[in-house]
């Protein structure tokens, strides 16, 4: 077991810098998720921990060892790959035993460890089969089994669920979470799926174009997104963004067309400053009041059973706005709704930098 520390970690391919300085401290036993859109550098970061990519500059520590120049096998890590990377010519047992064999463990201990891992993952019946004969979910378990038998101090997961169908993905997600809690091994998990990230991670790192957008617990990220990117990325359905100006007293935002919303506290911005206002669909509610509300023209209504999604046009610019209501709401296309949001649920961002304004 070990903590992981990133100290000003950079990665460049030639002149093309792809990771622009990461500082992070992952605590012992913590389950952290690196999340971001494809091409953001999340896998590269994970592979630098694994030793599969060279660290251009900066330092990575696992426990108290500087691992920059250590071979993957010397780092005391195990990794689960997206396509499982099972050795196709070896049986399930041999796949799991291979790393232990190379390490020169006695045969008996290898058998014990594989058997134990197989019991945990319920793949004991398949040990003699070849990977080709297994289903996607079973292969996934074998890949995890191969990681478990090593008893490493760190688990690394590189989008391990993205090759599975939706139903299996949910099931394996729960199993991974349970497994990590039982074993208590420090884990770094990479995914592009924000739901996986939110449900699995104790803490998340949101990465975009090689820059760290925000670090924090899922709740922190949801409640106080540091940037409009994080705000839009975390949460489903996604947050809506509207252009607005700061009102005269600094306690209101004024939208094109004259609608206004009251905000919490007072912003230190001049009246008339342009801002981006973020509103989560689930925080918008219908209101009868004329003041402090927005007028929305309903464009599409989606009934999902448990809730109803309303996609509307707002203001003269017909900006997109999504509203989520509980249960089944009888609303027709073309209708005009009046909605509002509680001041603490109104997020305000700088339209230039995307940074949060408080």
């Amino acid at each position: 077991m070990a903590e992981i520390r990133f100290n000003k970690v950079y990665k460049a391919y030639g002149n093309n810098e792809v990771i622009h300085g990461v500082d992070w401290h992952i605590r012992d036993g913590e389950f952290v998720v690196i999340v971001g859109p494809s091409g953001c550098g999340k896998s590269t970061l994970l592979r630098m921990v694994a030793g599969l990519e060279v660290i251009t500059s900066g330092e990575i520590f696992i426990g108290d060892r500087l691992v920059n120049d250590l071979e993957p096998a010397e780092r005391d890590i195990a990794m689960v790959f997206q396509n499982y990377a099972l050795y196709p010519h070896m049986s399930v047992f041999k796949n799991m035993a291979y790393g232990l064999k190379i390490r020169g463990l006695p045969k008996q201990e290898i058998e014990q460890r594989v058997q134990k891992a197989a019991d945990i993952l319920e793949i004991g019946d398949y040990l003699k089969r070849s990977p080709r004969q297994l289903s996607g979910g079973q292969r996934q378990r074998v890949a995890m089994g191969r990681a478990i038998v090593r008893q490493p101090s760190v688990f690394l997961f590189d989008e391990p669920l993205s090759n599975l169908d939706a139903k299996l993905r949910v099931q394996m997600r729960l199993e991974i979470k349970k497994l990590q809690e039982e074993l208590g091994i420090t884990s770094v998990y990479v995914t592009h799926d924000q739901i996986e990230a939110m449900t699995l991670g104790h803490r998340l790192m949101v990465l975009k174009d090689g820059y760290v957008e925000q670090l924090g617990t899922p709740i922190e990220l949801y409640e106080r997104p540091a940037t409009s990117f994080v705000a839009g990325f975390i949460g489903s359905p996604a947050m809506s963004f509207l252009d607005a100006e700061i009102g005269e007293d600094g306690r209101q935002v004024v939208f094109e067309g004259g609608d206004r919303l009251a905000i919490a506290g007072r912003l230190s911005l001049d009246a008339g400053s342009r801002v981006t206002v973020g509103l989560r669909p689930e925080h918008l509610v219908r209101t009868e009041e004329e003041a402090d509300s927005l007028h929305i023209k309903v464009r599409v209504v989606e009934h999902l059973g448990a809730d109803t999604l309303i996609h509307g046009d707002f203001g003269p610019g017909k900006a997109d706005l999504t509203i989520r209501m509980d249960g089944i709401e009888q609303i027709r296309t073309g209708e005009t709704l009046r909605i509002k949001a509680a001041p603490e649920h109104i997020h305000i961002f700088d339209p230039e930098t995307g940074g949060r304004i408080d």
Binding site: A50, L52, A73, I77, M79, Y84, A85, Y87, I102, R146
Partner: protein
């Protein structure tokens, strides 16, 4: 095909059977000749049905050989076998290692080596007969197994084939192996070698045939009949000048010379076709 008319089907089979017969005809006659006494063959016309000297002729060929050549065919067969196996194993071994180096390592002059191997495609023995002969003579390798084998084992084709095979091995497997603690040699032995075994087998079939049918090279460097391959032996048996060639023995030897590679093609057809198609890519 779309039409399913009966007469058309019969015609198709008829044409194919004629084709098969034409292809087989020379070999049938050779077989017939190998079962008669020389006297019968010198009749005009020679017999067209097998005779009763099959065992006698083949025994004489294998045991003592033709009078014109002082080596029995079993020895020639052994020499051909050594040459064919030596060439195929040698080609596969050195090509795999070279492809492994080129695909899995980055080092100065990597591409230079790659092109160097590529250029050998354009230098078949036939275009450099004399100087190659001289090199082998200077190295004292005339009339020797290494002399028959080593100059023919460089192979651009096999190197490219293995390069393709290795490139198709997913990167994640290599990464998983590295995390499992496997170094390059171990990875080669435990992962690449078993993953390429059908390619190796297919290539072996093709290269074995290639080695077995070599003619020009052994013709140049073997003057001692102890090192004659079957094909050279046949040539020497025919070239008797004014004397009478022992056609029944020559034809028995010819049948024996065809047997191993033909059996391989027939019984390992799948591997043979795979190898043929892959090496031409």
């Amino acid at each position: 095909m779309v039409e399913n008319r009966r007469w058309l089907n019969w015609l198709t089979h008829f044409v194919l059977i004629i084709g098969v017969l034409i292809v087989a005809f020379p070999i049938y006659i050779a077989f017939v000749a190998s079962t008669h006494e020389l006297d019968a063959l010198l009749q005009s016309p020679m017999p067209i049905w097998p005779g009763d000297s099959l065992i006698k002729n083949y025994a004489q060929a294998l045991g003592t050989g033709a009078r014109a050549v002082g080596a029995p065919v079993w020895l020639m067969m052994f020499n051909s076998l050594v040459m064919a196996v030596g060439i195929s194993v040698g080609k596969i071994a050195i090509s795999m290692l070279a492809a492994f180096a080129i695909v899995y390592f980055r080092f100065p002059f990597r591409m230079a080596f790659f092109w160097m191997i590529f250029i050998t495609l354009m230098l078949p023995v036939e275009v450099r007969i004399l100087p190659t002969y001289k090199v082998v003579a200077d190295l004292n390798m005339l009339n020797s197994y290494p002399g028959l084998i080593i100059p023919l084992i460089a192979s651009a084709t096999a190197t490219f084939l293995f390069r393709q095979v290795f490139l198709a091995v997913p990167d994640e497997l290599t990464e998983a192996a590295r995390i499992d603690g496997a170094g390059p040699i171990r990875f080669f032995k435990d992962i690449l070698l078993p993953l390429s075994r059908t390619n190796i087998a297919a290539l072996f079939v093709i290269m074995f045939i290639y080695g077995w049918v070599q003619y020009l090279w052994p013709l140049l460097i073997t003057t001692d009949e102890k090192f004659y391959t079957m094909l050279i032996g046949i040539n020497r048996m025919i070239a008797v000048g004014e004397g009478q060639a022992e056609w029944q023995i020559i034809m028995a030897t010819t049948m024996l010379a065809m047997l191993p590679p033909v059996l391989i093609v027939v019984f390992m057809q799948r591997l043979f076709v795979k190898g043929l198609v892959e090496t031409e890519k």
